[in-house]
Subunit: 370 residues, 2 copies
């Protein structure tokens, strides 16, 4: 049975859902505004507000409609209650951890960061994660508005993530920047609900998707690590293990035209940092070797043939610098594809994770009511 069983409670919960969504969009509304906004009649809207207030999801803000809007009786504004809770968005990168707490409006409640020395060691990273989240907790407590822990967390990590466990995974010969961390376990005690972990490039692609109405594109991330996120039919596709877009072993064109896994191209060009699995970004930016552009062109050709994106979005420190060369290379291919730089420049992964955290929080609020 796919569609819900018909019943009156279904109808009622649908009305409540409409009211809640309207309040999420507009922050505060009178009963009359809710009626026109949701399309239900005034008495129905009023009744829903009564129910939701009773349930503790909605509160009378005490504010009254300003006289400035005309004559007429003043109305009472209603908004979501603070008890609907908050969500945590966390970004874990070799540079450090950033954590944000957002409420159901998407407003930033608190933000904390914790840096990690280079090179990052797994223990340091995990410690920074705890530090950032505890700082968030302290800030929220100090604010005094909200009590209780976040209802969920969404985590971005700069490494491959196992879709089923949320653990970070090392793939053979591939860059592994953070080490074996289990964000679900680390955050377990700090969050009153599910912890969702995914790769930072997937989240950056999500942010890009939210900023642009594109249903099919690929986000190629070229920095210390190599990554590629696939957005197909309007959603990020993670693959069975969550490892889609982990392209280190993709076969591409090597410096002498030989077939070679992408990551090895950086090896033979001497562009991997000694004692580390990461790519040496600074040296690469100095040299700008054409062989790298050709190798990335092979990646783009593979994406084009397998995924057929409308667009390739390039991110990452050296990727954005070489975007013109990469675009020119792609234009030579038998099936050229448009290439451009990422539009979201400021904390793209955290932006995507935050948007997802907000969406999940809202869904949670509506489902707990229904």
């Amino acid at each position: 049975m796919d569609p819900a069983k018909p019943s009156q409670v279904l109808l009622r919960s649908l009305t409540d859902e409409h009211v809640l969504r309207a309040l999420m969009r507009h922050r505060r509304l009178t009963r009359a505004e809710l009626s026109t906004e949701t399309g239900v009649s005034k008495p129905t809207a009023g009744e829903s507000v009564r129910r939701l207030t009773e349930a503790g999801l909605v509160v009378d803000t005490g504010e009254r409609t300003p006289g400035g809007r005309g004559k007429g009786r003043v109305g009472s504004y209603y908004s979501l209650a603070p008890q609907v809770g908050t969500a945590l968005a966390v970004s874990i990168a070799p540079e450090g951890v950033v954590a944000e707490c957002v409420d159901a409006y998407g407003d930033l409640v608190a933000r904390a960061q914790a840096d990690v020395g280079r090179p990052a060691r797994p223990d340091d990273v995990a410690a920074a994660l705890v530090e950032a989240v505890e700082n968030i907790e302290a800030l929220v407590k100090a604010g005094g508005m909200i009590e209780g822990r976040p209802r969920l967390a969404v985590v971005s990590a700069a490494d491959p993530v196992d879709r089923h466990t949320g653990r970070l995974l090392q793939l053979p010969d591939a860059p592994f920047l953070l080490g074996e961390i289990d964000p679900v376990a680390v955050l377990g005690g700090h969050v009153d609900g599910p912890v969702h972990v995914d790769n930072d490039v997937n989240w950056a692609a999500e942010a890009e998707r939210a900023a642009n109405p594109l249903d099919d594109f690929a986000y190629v991330f070229l920095d210390e690590g190599l990554g590629c996120a696939i957005v197909s039919d309007g959603e990020v596709r993670r693959g069975h293990h969550g490892l889609s877009g982990e392209v280190a072993h993709l076969i591409t064109v090597g410096p002498q035209g030989q077939a070679m896994p992408l990551i090895e191209v950086f090896g033979v060009l001497g562009l991997r940092r000694a004692g580390s699995t990461a790519i040496d970004v600074d040296r690469l930016r100095d040299q700008r070797p054409p062989a790298v552009v050709t190798a990335v062109g092979g990646l783009i050709a593979a994406v084009t043939t397998l995924i057929d994106p409308e667009l390739i979005v390039i991110g990452g420190r050296w990727g954005t610098e070489l975007v013109d060369e990469i675009a020119a290379e792609s234009a030579q291919h038998p099936r050229p594809v448009r290439v451009r730089q990422a539009a979201v420049e400021n904390e793209p992964s955290l932006t995507g994770a935050r948007a997802d955290a907000l969406q999940r929080l809202r869904e949670l609020i509506i489902r707990t009511e229904a």
Copy 2:
């Protein structure tokens, strides 16, 4: 507004939808059986049957419950009316055209085929398409049960298909077996509704998905043409233009280890048919060159890194013969993936198209009521 506006008509249409779906599953049911099957009360079920009978979607079959099932009063069986219509599933391949007409139960109403001489010329293929569909029409008319044209058509074509127009497309240097055909235009006069066209490999993957509960896999089709269908999160992903999986230009490992587009491997090995863009399957089966297996291994590696499937399914005449070699090759890779032969062996593309036609027809029936 994502969720439907709450109202009583919504409730009623939901009830009707449940009743229709139950009849689609069970072919014929009494009002009492409908009540227990859908979970709604007896009066509600009875009322819904009355409405749907009035609307011409449901009929009293005249059959009565057999006494054999116990004592008690006999009930009247209801089933979908013939007027709910039929759907067309068509497979277009170089060997010829097969068309089937199915009703809302998925029962075969009529089947016709029209062969095409080798080598196939576009005009011959288009003529065979018309012939097959006209034969179907004659058969349906002769049957006398159903009047009117099919309400939709789902077409499988053994070439790249433009997602927006449904036209067959020639890609540079890639095998092009059928030629520039526009199935939507050809079928326009024979179908009372939308015509959906897609690549045969995508439909074969759809059939494989229906037969297996796999959410993420790739279907690699190795025959005269090369194809690859991507199933991600439980659905076939077609890409922006509908050209996902058109892998002729994917860069892979050539016979001497050089980087080379997949289709060129067959060129340098002398495995493309003279005067044609197709692969010479017979010669390939004789020679079974290891270089081909290596090249296919590169394709699988690309799919694994970009899509992360749970499984690679191999189809096509020479693909299924070489499946063990391909599996062994894949096992050598840094990220091995399970490889097996396709489970659906009999007319896989038509099977997938038929399943989709059935699903779309059912959706159409329910939507027209609502």
